[in-house]
Symmetry: C2
Subunit: 312 residues, 2 copies
C-alpha cells in the first residue's frame, strides 16, 4: 500500500518539489535550481537524485511511494513526451520514461498550467468541484481546464490557452502570440497597466495614479481607495475579463472559475469588477458560475502534480 | 452477450428511433410522432411500446439488447433527470428510470445536441477522432463538445452553447438569448440572410441576390457562381464563424470541427471561407485543427444515442 506521492513543478529557474500523503497533506517541500545548460540535460537526473536523497533521509521505502507527478512548462503528450520546452532547452524528451528509469518509480507528466489547475481543484480554491477552470492573471493570462476531474490538455497541448481568445477588433498593438486584441493584452498585469496609462493620457481627471509608478498593484490599491479614474480602469479591465470568461463558460460551462496569478493578489475586488460583465455576456443557461480566488499560490503545481499520480 | 443497441432521438414533432449492431451499423430505423399533449405524458410510454413491438417483430431477445440511448431536447443531468424540456412539455422527469421501468432495459439519456456530436464522432464526420467539436449551423448555432470520447455537458447542461459566444460589440439587434452580438446572429441560416440583406442595402453593386428571395441557399449558390457581392457576404460570414470557432479552439483545442446543419448543405465552400479567419484568430499552438462536414444528417442523434449506451 503506497503512503506518499511526490509532486514536482519544473520552472525555468527552480524546480519545486514536495511529497504528500494520499489525502493531499504536504509532508515536506523544497526547491532545487533548474540547470538549463547543455539543453537542460541535467534537469531530470537532478530531480531523480533529489527524490532518491529524500527517500533515503526520511527512511521511506520505494514500495510506499505511489509515484511522481511532474508539471512541465510546455506541451506534454499523453505518453509523457515533451516535443519542446523552450525555457528548459528540451526537445523530444519522454519525461515519464527518463525519470522512471532513474528512480524506479511510476512517473506522470503534464503541462504545468494544467497541473496547477488540478492542484487548485484538489486542495485549493476549486476544492469540492470537478468542472473547474483555473485562470492565471500574471505577466500573461493562462488557463487550465478540468472537466469531470480530468485535465483538458487539448489535441496539440493548447487546451486552456484562454489568454489568446480574440476580444478586440480595434487593437493596433500585437500580442506576444502575434495576434491582435487577445484577452491577455488587457487582463494580464501588463494589460491593466496599459489600460491605466491610456486612461491617464486620455483624461484630465486627478488620480493618485498620476504620482509614481503605475503597476497592477497601484491600480487596484487606488480602486480600493475609491480613486475615480482607477475605478474606470477597473471597469474596462472587468469588461474584457468578463467577456473572455463568458466565452469560456459558453464552451465548457464549468462549476467554478479559480482566479490566480499576480493580479489576483489584489483579492476579491478583481472578481467584483469582472462578474457583472461575465453575467452580461454569458449564455443565460450558463449564468451563475462561481468565482473563487486561488489558494495555493506557487505551490499549486506540486499539489496538482501529486494528484496527477493519484488519478485525475 | 448483447448484440444490438437502441438509439432514440426525441424531437418536438417526431421521435427518431433505430437499432444498431455493436459496431454502429444501423439494422433498422423508423419514426413515431411526438405526442406533446398532456405535458408530453405519452412520449415515454410510446417509445417503450415501439421498442417492445420492434423486439417482438424481429424476434430479438431482451438479453441481446445492450440498452437504449436517448437524446432529449433540453438539459439532462447525469442521472437521467430532465429538469425542463420546453418543446416536450416536460418538467422533472427521470428518463433513465421511467423508460427502464417500461422496457426492462438499461437506459441512458443525454442532451440531443451532445448526443448528435457523439454520433458524428462514432460514425460520421468525426470518425477516428476523440476530441471533437460538432457545430450545427441551422436556424440557430449549436455545438456539442466531445473530449477524450466523452461528452462535455457542462455543470448546468450548457456545455457547447457556442452560438452565444459574444463577438460583436456594435450589434443593435437582440439575439434569441437576449444578448447582443452572439455568434448565432451571424453564423446561423438567418444570420447569413441578415448579413446579405445589409450588404444589399449598403451597396449598389449588381448581384443575383437582388432577384428573388434571399436565403442561406441562394447566398451560397451565388458565391459558387462567383457573384461579387455574395462573395463579400461569405467573407463577413466566414470571419464571424472563424473568430467564434477560434475561441472554442483556444479553450478545448479539438482535433476536428464537424460542421453540420442546414447552412452546411452548401458544402465545403462554407469551410473554405471560414478557415483562413480561424487561422488568423486562433492561438498559434492550436492552429491546424481539421474541419469536416457532418455526414449523418438527421440520423446523428440515433447513432450518438446508441453510442451513449456502449460507452462514450
Amino acid at each position: 500500500m503506497s503512503k506518499v506521492v511526490f509532486g514536482v513543478d519544473v520552472g525555468g529557474t527552480t524546480v519545486k518539489m514536495g511529497y504528500f500523503d494520499l489525502d493531499g497533506n504536504v509532508l515536506d517541500k523544497w526547491e532545487i535550481p533548474t540547470r538549463t545548460e547543455d539543453n537542460g540535460a541535467g534537469i531530470i537526473p537532478d530531480i531523480a537524485g533529489s527524490i532518491l536523497d529524500k527517500l533515503a533521509q526520511s527512511g521511506i521505502d520505494k514500495s510506499d511511494v505511489a509515484g511522481i507527478g511532474i508539471g512541465i512548462p510546455g506541451p506534454v503528450k499523453s505518453d509523457g513526451t515533451v516535443p519542446v520546452a523552450v525555457n528548459l532547452g528540451w526537445k523530444d524528451i519522454n519525461v515519464n520514461i527518463e525519470l522512471s528509469k532513474l528512480t524506479g518509480l511510476e512517473v506522470k507528466a503534464a503541462n504545468d498550467a494544467n497541473v496547477a489547475a488540478l492542484g487548485e481543484m484538489w486542495r485549493g480554491g476549486g476544492q469540492g468541484y470537478s468542472d473547474v477552470v483555473a485562470v492565471t492573471l500574471g505577466t500573461g493570462v493562462g488557463g487550465g481546464i478540468i472537466i469531470g476531474g480530468r485535465i483538458v490538455s487539448g489535441s496539440t497541448g493548447a487546451g486552456g490557452e484562454i489568454g489568446h481568445i480574440h476580444l478586440e477588433d480595434n487593437e493596433t498593438e500585437a500580442c506576444g502570440c502575434k495576434g491582435h486584441g487577445c484577452l491577455e493584452q488587457y487582463a494580464s498585469a501588463t494589460g491593466i497597466v496599459r489600460i491605466a496609462r491610456k486612461k491617464l493620457a486620455d483624461s484630465d481627471k486627478a488620480s493618485v495614479l498620476r504620482e509614481g509608478e503605475v503597476s497592477a498593484k497601484t491600480v487596484w490599491d487606488a480602486v480600493k481607495e475609491g480613486d475615480d479614474l482607477a475605478v474606470e480602469v477597473a471597469h474596462i479591465y472587468g469588461e474584457y475579463l468578463g467577456k473572455g470568461l463568458a466565452a469560456v463558460a459558453d464552451v465548457v460551462n464549468p462549476e467554478v472559475f479559480v482566479i490566480g496569478g499576480g493580479v489576483s493578489k489584489a483579492g476579491k475586488v478583481v472578481i467584483d469588477y469582472m462578474e457583472p460583465y461575465f453575467e452580461k455576456y454569458v449564455f443565460p443557461g450558463a449564468k451563475g458560475a462561481k468565482f473563487a480566488l486561488a489558494k495555493l499560490g506557487n505551490d499549486a503545481g506540486i499539489y496538482g502534480a501529486a494528484k496527477l499520480v493519484l488519478g485525475e
